[in-house]
Symmetry: C2
Subunit: 237 residues, 2 copies
DNA sequence: AATTTACGAATGGTTAAACCATTAGCAGTT
DNA sequence: AACTGCTAATGGTTTAACCATTCGTAAATT
């Protein structure tokens, strides 16, 4: 008949209050919370309890805590760092496999390329072409340039994500790349043909984006990721 | 010349030790940590410091803390709950627009439907058809069944995500749906034709999934989301 | 015998006051 | 002008005690 009364622990209540204030905009990024000895008075709790609350907020990525005379709790710009960290935990625990990551990427890259094609400005296109040039340079270096090439490849994909203008794509892809990288480094046998093929794909994607051809960009990007994933499956199996 | 010495705070050290033990498998899900008063001795720290560490581990989703005589810190099966929570925070805070959410959904639904078509078993297909029947029932109820229809629609999409077997899709789409729902409820003007059209789409998607036709499922799902988003843009503009 | 009640013990939750460690700014010195 | 050392404010940690919740068990009741 009646609803269970929610018995909040004191520190949870503090976390919620501060989190809501941040979400509402009452507390703005860059501003600081009062000192611990002041805050504990405002909330009417002990310092230990307050510190448990602050640790939680820190772990959520909502505040950063600094020591020293000008130290304290600084409200942070919300970012995807903790999300990425969390994803990394899942991966390490084998809850998310390399295959899962690759599949997920396959689902998103096409859409990202299409959006980028619709929205890229002149500056964006110039920066893409700059990255392509860098990639080509690394490719010419032979084996010792491979690592750098892969990183540049990743940068191009991230640049496309940014041009999509969609913070969700940017955040989620950032996390995926950050975590997929370790797999590549440790397990994937690279070779010259694969890199060359990748480079050609990238050139085609950039060309389609530059021309504003969304559907063509989508198709090429999707094919690019698919081919890459197929290679990976083959080598891993 | 020398590398900066990393001055770990005591609680961080504790977090790392316990986290590593969990990741390595030394501490298995379901097992319990010693009581706080015992643990603090083992680590050689005070109880307050230990509790800060436990709060962090709890916030990471690695342990669950229970009170009472048989209480304590239980090692949890790693799951995506906190990742979802984190994504929700990002969505709320970054003022991710409805359009961003819709675009992102557009990027993923096609791939999800295709994977579901490849992987759905007999039971999965039966449960999809059960959901369709429920949806149809709500549709017949007229206006008062609309809300229920929308919820069922969402359940069908979530079921497809689960059938994709990819924890990333499941996690991310769960967060997206959870957050897009509030928008729909508050801002979107539904009408009978739209719902009917949605229902037809769903039937077609389920048919394609049942037949194991991945590419057809992809196309229909993509078209479905696109048509829906277009309608939304029109009504919001 | 079965059920209910009351209590004890173990565990997490919270408090209080003190002291340690770090750091920005200032005052004095060179 | 540059260096040096002090001061004060802030987070980091410790200690010891008590409160609150919960499970098992023993006693009381039916």
């Amino acid at each position: 008949m009646f609803k269970q009364v929610k018995q909040n622990k004191a520190y949870q209540d503090v976390v919620e209050q501060i989190q809501e204030a941040i979400m509402e905009g009452t507390l703005k990024p860059g501003s600081m919370l009062p000192a611990e000895r002041e805050l504990k008075e405002q909330f009417g709790i002990s310092r230990g309890t307050l510190r448990e609350a602050l640790r939680v907020l820190e772990q959520k990525g909502l505040i950063e805590i600094r020591t020293g005379v000008a130290g304290g709790s600084i409200i942070r710009e919300v970012n995807s760092e903790k999300l990425s960290e969390n994803l990394g935990l899942l991966i390490r625990n084998r809850a998310v496999s390399l295959r899962d990551l690759a599949e997920f990427r396959e689902g998103m890259e096409g859409g990202v390329a299409a959006l980028a094609a619709q929205r890229a400005g002149e500056q964006d296109i110039a920066s893409l072409q700059g990255l392509l040039a860098v990639a080509q340079g690394h490719l010419k270096e032979g084996r010792k340039g491979w690592d750098a090439f892969v990183r540049t490849d990743e940068q191009i994909h991230m640049a496309l994500a940014r041009m999509s203008g969609n913070p969700l794509f940017i955040t989620v892809l950032t996390s995926v790349y950050h975590n997929i990288h370790t797999y590549y480094e440790n397990y994937l046998p690279w070779n010259k043909e694969l890199l060359q093929e990748n480079f050609t794909d990238l050139c085609n994607i950039v060309a389609a984006v530059s021309a504003g051809e969304a559907e063509r960009a989508r198709e090429i990007a999707l094919g690019h990721v698919r081919r890459f994933n197929a290679y990976m499956e083959e080598k891993q199996a």
